[in-house]
Subunit: 270 residues, 2 copies
Amino acid sequence: MALLKHLSLNQITTEQWNLKEAALGCAKAEIPWISIWRHKMEEFGLAESKRIIQDTGLQVSSLCRGGMFPAATKEQRQRNLDDNKRAVEEAAELGTDVLVLVCGPAPDRDIDLSRQWVEEGIEQLVPFAEAHGVKLGIEPLHPMYAADRSVIVTLGQANKMAEKFTADQVGVVVDVFHVWWDPELYEQIARAKGRILGFHVSDWNVPITNTFKARRMMGDGVIEIRRIRKAVEEAGYHGPIEVEIMNQDLWDMPGDDVLALMKDRFVKHV
Amino acid sequence: MALLKHLSLNQITTEQWNLKEAALGCAKAEIPWISIWRHKMEEFGLAESKRIIQDTGLQVSSLCRGGMFPAATKEQRQRNLDDNKRAVEEAAELGTDVLVLVCGPAPDRDIDLSRQWVEEGIEQLVPFAEAHGVKLGIEPLHPMYAADRSVIVTLGQANKMAEKFTADQVGVVVDVFHVWWDPELYEQIARAKGRILGFHVSDWNVPITNTFKARRMMGDGVIEIRRIRKAVEEAGYHGPIEVEIMNQDLWDMPGDDVLALMKDRFVKHV
């Protein structure tokens, strides 16, 4: 039960709720943390979003998301960088020091070049983020998203990229759904010691009929969530644990029920 | 065009055809190789299948598939091993020296234990396979199949496992669909030098709505197929190249049309 003080609602888990509903829902359910998605924040605007969160006494575990660096033209890559700077400002204003990076896919077949653009994008963003007291958390996504969401697909790759910077500038985000299959998982979690900026939980079950909405509630799948949580703790991470689940069944439920289920499963399976 | 002498129809690409139709279709389309699936062979029986293939003058690039080693009980693992021995005998009888291994998923949440069972299964199968002149080709599957088809998900992992044996006993099968996303891909292909027992092509395109039938015809997706083919050749592989595509649209086409499209795309994109 002590673990509940680390519980964070990643806002996409209750996509049916706007930011105010989610904040009030968390307060009511005594969930201490929330992770904010930018499209949810934009509905209210930054100042009002900040006020709502402060009023409920919630802490913000991260802002989702920056990244999406690659693009076919230099102009578009510059616009992507500018957007990342706005995300950094928003994170700082909302009171979190973590901006999660979903790094982006390749605009064509050249995956190596896109990986280079990701690296360049991060490099260009770091000084700005540092000046705002915001750390960049590279989140490796499951390889099934390599073509449409992220060319960064393993924790090893994220670690290697993060290690080019100091631990105050760039770290990694470990999401069990994205990394559970990796034969190097525990070795790479240990390597990430001191650089883990976030830990996300959900579960994997087959069949997958929609890759974006494939996640399930903890306990409904095959991931060894507790084992991964302990490894992350051994690597020095004791921060908030976000429940991040895109799933239509959950989105069709009343938000309060999602939170109740989430708390129950969190205690049993995380 | 010289590459066409390496073209092999992996029989699952024309799931609408039985073995006889596939063999005759290949002969008519002047495709020199075929890869046989066991469920297709069983329709005719081993002896008749062998006769059909010999009559058409086709060469068999591989038998699909052995593997599926993990199981919750020792008895079931023994039955799985026995079935693998039958697959070895069938491969030898059909005139191919390559049995492709799709290694199997975990029966529960313990992925490490399943990986151990895979290793034990291969170890137990090797002497039997060797006695029959058949090599075992470990095919790493895309990580999105880790929960339902294979706990072996990277070429690095397959290489490591194969290296416990001689190159005459155990090698790896490189399928572009399964490995294209891997940041270590080219390094691991080079490491597999002398052990590559098969090369499979298809393509990846989003969205994925059915993981099993997700593949597309070469040229319809984002995979750098030619680059991977050249890397495989540099690693000493100059054998048959199988087109292996589970895709409902192709299965709904007349088989002859699939073969014509496949030849055209093979020349353009492989």
